[in-house]
């Protein structure tokens, strides 16, 4: 560019901002929260767009699961000769039957009280992708991550393996770091905040106890386009993020899932730790067509949006995470 005026404007270009890795780390944490919390786009316009793409993503992974389900069913028949216990074979059950069994099993559990604002939700998990504690830019793969998130959402402590505990402040949307306050230990962003324990707990506890009414509420709250892709995605997200779902609501969520058209059982689905369970997936016609036409790549096997323990019907994880242990405790560092 030789234009004199542009050269001049270029000459008054402000200096580069000071190099501060924490800035990038915080921006990354904000983006990363979006990867797993899809229904929290802030503006209505963005929300619609995002739901569309999320829908595509979920549907896509779900089709994967559906395709696999067929293959696994065949495999089950074949190995049946070898004689695994017949009651371990849920293939004979419909989605509705399986989820009704799950609901009945879960709703018998005693309901724990709502955690206090300064109690902590402890979770030990294996996850495909996690932000390393301490706001460092790092993707953790296949490590055990222990996190304690204070019920009010404001503080989060975490440790990798048996490493030291890192404490992080969590900013509410709109909240900024205090000026002049030197502190790398915070993360924020609406998507992260929406998965904070108290916020999520209160949302779930406030859902109707009737499956149809619950579906109607979620469809309305998350602007479902009518195909229930978003609604299914939101329910899967609740299981992914909420470690303290009241049993009655969990039962209603299972019954609600059974009422969503296209939901299938993925037999022998695996969670991220490789544990086998009952997988749930959503199948949509659009995605099937897209795969057939070669517009989408052939999906990976064993993929399900939710994997339930085949005996207790508790949520254990999905293809990208595995919940190994969880408890409500009084102090970070305690494991119940």
């Amino acid at each position: 560019m030789t234009d004199k005026e542009i050269v001049l404007v270029r000459a008054v270009r402000p200096a580069d901002p000071p190099h501060d890795p924490a800035v990038k780390a915080r921006a990354w944490a904000r983006l990363h929260a979006e990867f797993t919390a899809p229904d929290t786009a802030p503006s209505p316009g963005a929300r619609r767009t995002f739901h569309r793409s999320f829908g595509r993503r979920v549907a896509w992974r779900l089709v994967a699961a559906g395709v696999v389900a067929a293959g696994v069913a065949a495999a089950v028949v074949a190995t049946q000769v070898g004689g695994p216990a017949p009651e371990q074979r849920p293939a004979a059950r419909t989605v509705a039957q399986t989820l009704e069994l799950a609901a009945e099993r879960i709703e018998q559990q005693a309901a724990p009280t709502r955690p206090g604002p300064h109690q902590w939700i402890y979770t030990e998990a294996k996850s495909a992708n996690e932000v390393a504690p301490g706001n460092r830019i790092a993707m953790l793969h296949n490590v055990k991550l222990r996190t304690w998130w204070r019920f009010d959402g404001r503080l989060m402590a975490s440790s990798i393996g048996n490493g030291k505990l890192d404490m992080t402040r969590v900013l509410q949307p709109g909240e900024r770091q205090r000026p002049g306050h030197v502190d790398d230990g915070y993360i924020g962003g609406p998507a992260l905040w929406d998965s904070a324990p108290r916020k999520l707990y209160d949302y779930v506890a406030g859902l109707p106890s009737d499956p149809d009414a619950l579906l109607a509420r979620v469809r309305h709250d998350y602007h479902d386009s009518g195909k229930d892709v978003t609604t299914f995605g939101k329910i899967a997200e609740i299981f992914r993020d909420d470690r303290v779902i009241p049993p009655k609501k969990q039962a209603t969520l299972y019954r609600a899932l059974a009422k969503i058209r296209g939901v299938r059982i993925v037999h022998n689905a695996r969670d991220y730790a490789g544990r086998r369970g009952i997988g749930l997936a959503l199948d949509t016609a659009e995605e099937k067509t897209a795969v057939r036409k070669g517009l989408r790549p052939t999906p990976k096997p064993d993929v399900a949006e939710l994997v339930l323990d085949p005996r207790t019907y508790a949520y254990i994880g999905d293809g990208t995470q595995a919940i190994l242990s969880t408890a409500v405790v009084d102090k970070p560092g305690l494991r119940g």
Partner: protein, 197 residues
């Protein structure tokens, strides 16, 4: 210019397309382009607001990844386009704040979202004359000029970022140059730069 693909390089478009089904792939886009987008936002808004605008640029991009035109191998113009819109929103919000004097009481809720504008950043650091010339431009013209002068985009990339035809970019730049020339009123650019040291 013909684009030849260096060996081992995966185009942004391929990564973005893959991220539609595998969101984690989008991490690559962030790690590739964060520094550049943040730097540009910091030049225009100062480092504090730039952090917010930068982070939001990538989350907006992520949410809209399903609509990315995969014919475009380089995602930078797309990201600059999003950043430009957010910078504009920031300016609008800032102006509203000034107009209403509605400052929030909790100081750390909004104070670090400093009320800096292009003009202020520039004026503080360098020549007030160019600063006022920049401030006097319509927002769309300033966006274009700064994408070229401060982000080093080509005309083609700027056209893509702002989603206007290349011809529009050329004619708008022509107009912008005239305005700047007029605003500087016969000042010798070499001397002005000297003053600014």
């Amino acid at each position: 210019m013909a684009i030849t693909k260096p060996p081992g390089v995966v185009y942004d478009s391929v990564v973005i397309d893959a991220s539609v089904t595998d969101p984690e792939r989008f991490a690559e886009i962030f790690h590739r382009h964060w520094d550049e987008i943040y730097r540009y936002a910091a030049r225009r808004l100062g480092p504090e607001a730039a952090e917010d605008v930068g982070a939001e640029t990538f989350t907006v991009a992520f949410r809209n990844r399903g609509r990315y035109d995969t014919g475009r191998t380089d995602a930078r113009p797309w990201l600059y386009g999003i950043a430009t819109n957010l910078i504009r929103q920031h300016h609008r919000a800032e102006r509203r704040r000034h107009e209403s004097h509605a400052r929030t009481d909790a100081d750390w809720v909004s104070a670090s979202f400093a009320e800096v504008s292009d003009a202020r950043v520039t004026a503080e650091l360098l020549g007030p004359r160019i600063a006022s010339a920049l401030a006097g431009l319509p927002a769309a013209d300033r966006d274009l000029l700064l994408l070229i002068a401060w982000a080093d985009l080509t005309y083609e990339e700027a056209a893509e970022a702002l989603q206007v035809p290349l011809g529009t970019v050329r004619s708008r730049l022509h107009r912008v140059r005239k305005k700047i020339r007029r605003a500087l009123g016969g000042v010798d650019p070499a001397r002005l730069q000297e003053e600014n040291r």
